[in-house]
Amino acid sequence: MNTPLRRVGLAMMAMMLLLLGNATYVQVIKADDYRKDPLNRRVILDQYSRERGQIISADSVPLAGVEKTNDRLRYLRTYPNGPAFAPVTGYFSTIYGTGGMERAEDDLLNGSDDRLFARRVSDLITGRDPKGGSLQLTIDAKLQQVAYERLNGVTGTVVAIRPQTGEILAMVSTPSYDPNALASHDVDAQEEAWTSFDADKSKPMLNRSVHESYPPGSTFKLVVTAAALAEGKTKESEVDGRPVITLPGTNTPLPNFNDTTCGNGVTASLEEALSKSCNTAFAVLANELGVEKLRDQAAKFGYGEPDLSIPLSVVPSTLGPIADKPSIYQTGIGQKDVRVTPMVNAMMAATIANGGVRMQPHLIGKVLAPDLQVISETDPDEVDEAMDPDDAIALRDMMIKSENNTGGGGKLSGVTIASKTGTAEHGEDVKSTNPHAWYVAFAPAEKPEIAIAVIVENGGQQGLSATGGRVAAPIGRSVIGAYLGGR
């Protein structure tokens, strides 16, 4: 009987060999396919259970951090003071993925970025749990908070940039949302929050600073002026000053705001035209300069850049097709098909403030390792010489005058602001649609520390009677005041 027993033993070994062979196939050869299969929730669960890096502001206020939990995801993403910073931080959701900086720098925050490679290897050897790297943003937490509070109750944005470096000091979009609700480990709570944000007509999850573009209105006159200065015009150059003109080839009148006259009613100086924001002057001036020069100058300020990334992607700003004469006239006053993001408008203000040198706007100040050692620092990056330095000073002076001519509350004492307002008509029926109110500015004018763009969609509570000066300027001034006063 021992012979068959031995054969049974051989059969048992053969079965084990089969099992081992098959296990090798599954766990070694096919392992990668199985691990990376989209139906395999392990990879994503792993990612969500790893300690994600922090996002902190320039003044080291935590904007996004983690809290330890006892559930299987182990770490809960938290956003102290979430809504104010949501346009910057974005959200981190187990169901809906990521947004904002959470998406743009996901690799770094979850620890898979190449910049963390050496640390990952040492984690592997020492058996430490891998952690994500952290980000220190250029955002000034106090300023962001102030701007968010000033925009309370209206739909709009504030973008603030340090002109010399391109650091984005604040980027607010209202109404906002609470990313904490999307980071919840309670699946039902997440779904409920997402559905309610998604269904909200005021689009709280839209980052209007970079993902929405608006007609720039009179703020575009800065582009036209810059182009004119580049063509040899000066502050004193005489431009059209009529209260109303007719668009060439049509019967459509193009009046000044409130039908005011500019200068002597026939001509006016460029400085006066800008400071009083005369429509007729700039419509005619744009036509004189021609489409090419307008596009050129606009591009130097950042219009039309297809992959501007801060590293949130910024939708391109555009002048539109400008197909005929009337279009040029309208483009000159920032109407027709001209669209600009608040980010690019803020860049324009910053460029003028910086003596015509355009700096790359950016949100990331420092990239930090899990142990908060600095891995890299963002150096200021010069993109373009948008204006001649003398022209930039001339334009600044005109903007100081414009600020002095602008009404609205919240004027600051002791500091000179250079600004331009805009009241942008939009919609099918422009006369009954509330205009957008713009304010772009920088201060102190002599030695600028901050450049901002403010837009209040549809004039806020002012409705049809809204103007940039009445609605947007007070917000902008108080943000500037808070920044300059806070130091």
Binding site: M12, M15, M16, A31
Partner: protein, 487 residues
């Protein structure tokens, strides 16, 4: 039944020294103790790793688990020392390691499942404490068998009784009403008594094996001599083979009707091997495999649940969230574990259904990787080979047949369950001996171990020890192959 072995009374070492010490083979009990201590060390290490990786503090709960495990090991060792002093020293450590690892994994799955939201707000009830309780009960049974059954040949006398009991145990869940024999996961194989439920089929497996071994030993000469030659094949007479075929057919068909495909496959294989070993004729295996193929084909034609199993085996990804869910999740776990695994406590057993029973080897494959799974398979292999060695060495045919059958049963069961979760063969619900959570499986397998130890004790005990020889048919004695160990 049976009288105690004289040499086994008191301490075996004292008994050995009192007679002729030079001729007595060593009992190797200290070797066993050393290996048991090693197994305990491995299990304790695994338990600490699980706790550490799950970020739970080392709570009293694990102390309790660990102490219970150590206590049970000590009892098992003392029982073997007392009642089967010459038993193979490797078998018990293998069992202890598998049982301990099973406890750790079940505890680990408890930790994972505690965070999972179960449908209907149910709370996961921890299985590890119950498994400890079952282990304790199993050890009581183990000790009882070792104590009461001082000579395994006694069993042969009650062959028919065991056979009948086995069939009754098999049929019981099928015929009893639903409140006491509920249908769980499509199979009606459980008897439920309040909080506890047992699977009589697990015990039937052993009872029927005893019957088949006893029957075959008493009839094996008739099979080879008294048969007729049909088509060049020596067929035994119907009246000799009748009871065997009847019991086999009844057993297999009951399991098939209860939709317990794994057990029927296991049972079929065991009987085939017993038949082969008893008759030493490979033709039975050929016939059996042919029968199996025909039977499998018919079952596939007749039963939709068989078709579903086969379909899931061929292409589990055809319905990854439905019928193929279990096997797909198992493959994902194994693939993600890859070569070295996610680490104890680092896997996602909550993703794998039935993780602590049928799929526990998949969880091991995920957390310990291919290396760990292979190690577990090797432990089973060592265990089965040691059992087989006892069968080879024992002097009586009944012991050989029963021992060989028991050893094969463990190896074959592992082949079916691991083959199932790694998609080598179609998945059939079956437990991994000692590893899986489940009372009846544990009880039955500890009885199996007791029998194997008893047989290996008989094989290694000094021949001079006078033993009462039970009455056996004279004709069977003639065919007994006497094997002497060289030492």
């Amino acid at each position: 039944m049976g009288s105690p072995v004289p040499g086994a009374e008191g301490t075996p070492l004292a008994a050995a020294s009192s007679t002729s010490p030079g001729l007595r083979p060593p009992t190797r009990r200290s070797t066993e103790l050393f290996m048991l201590a090693f197994a305990a060390m491995l299990v304790t290490g695994a338990l600490i790793l699980v706790e550490a990786n799950q970020e739970q503090e080392l709570s009293l709960r694990i102390l309790w688990l660990g102490l219970a495990y150590l206590g049970l090991l000590t009892v098992a060792h003392l029982a073997v020392r007392k009642w089967a002093p010459y038993a193979d020293p490797v078998i018990m450590p293998c069992v202890a390691l598998l049982n301990g690892l099973g406890l750790v994994m079940i505890h680990r799955i408890d930790l994972a499942m505690a965070d999972v939201k179960l449908p209907g707000d149910r709370v996961w009830s921890a299985a590890a404490p119950k498994q400890v309780l079952w282990t304790a009960i199993a050890l009581v049974l183990f000790c009882t068998v070792l104590k009461v059954l001082s000579d395994h040949r006694t069993l042969a006398r009650y062959g028919y009784t065991f056979g009948l009991l086995g069939l009754v145990a098999l049929v019981l869940p099928g015929v009893l009403p639903g409140f006491i024999a509920p249908e769980i996961n499509g199979a009606k194989i459980w008897l439920s008594f309040g909080a506890f439920s047992i699977q009589p089929g697990e015990f039937a497996k052993i009872l029927l094996m005893v019957f088949f071994a006893a029957f075959l030993v008493s009839k094996r000469d008739l099979f080879t001599i008294a048969g007729r030659r049909v088509l060049g094949l020596d067929l035994p007479r119907a009246r000799d083979l009748g009871p065997l075929i009847a019991a086999w057919a009844v057993g297999v068909s009951i399991m098939v009707l209860q939709k317990d495909l794994g057990s029927s496959l296991l049972f079929f294989g065991i009987v085939l091997v017993l038949l082969y070993v008893a008759t030493e004729r490979a033709v039975w295996v050929v016939l059996g495999v042919m029968m199996f193929c025909v039977g499998a084909f018919v079952a596939w034609k007749l039963f939709t649940h068989v078709q579903v199993r086969v379909q899931n085996w061929l292409d589990p990804f055809a319905d990854p969230s439905g019928a193929g869910y279990q096997i797909v999740q198992s493959l994902f776990g194994l693939g993600t574990g890859s070569m070295f695994g996610a680490g104890l406590g680092g896997g996602r057993p909550d993703q794998i259904p039935e993780a602590n029973t049928d799929f526990i080897t998949a969880v091991i494959g995920e957390e310990l990787g291919f290396v760990g799974l292979a190690a577990v398979l090797m432990i089973y292999m060592v265990f089965a080979m040691r059992g087989l060695r006892g069968a080879l060495a024992v002097r009586d045919t009944f012991g050989k047949l029963l021992g060989g059958g028991l050893a094969f049963a463990v190896a074959f069961q592992i082949f079916i369950v691991v083959g199932g979760v790694t998609k080598l063969i179609p998945m059939t619900g079956i437990t991994a001996p000692f590893l899986s959570y489940g009372g009846s499986s544990l009880l039955a397998n500890y009885i199996l171990v007791a029998l194997l130890l008893r047989i290996s004790d008989a094989a290694r005990a000094p021949k001079s020890t006078p033993k009462p020889r039970p009455q056996q048919p004279a004709i069977a004695d003639q065919f007994t192959v006497m094997v002497e160990r060289p030492k």
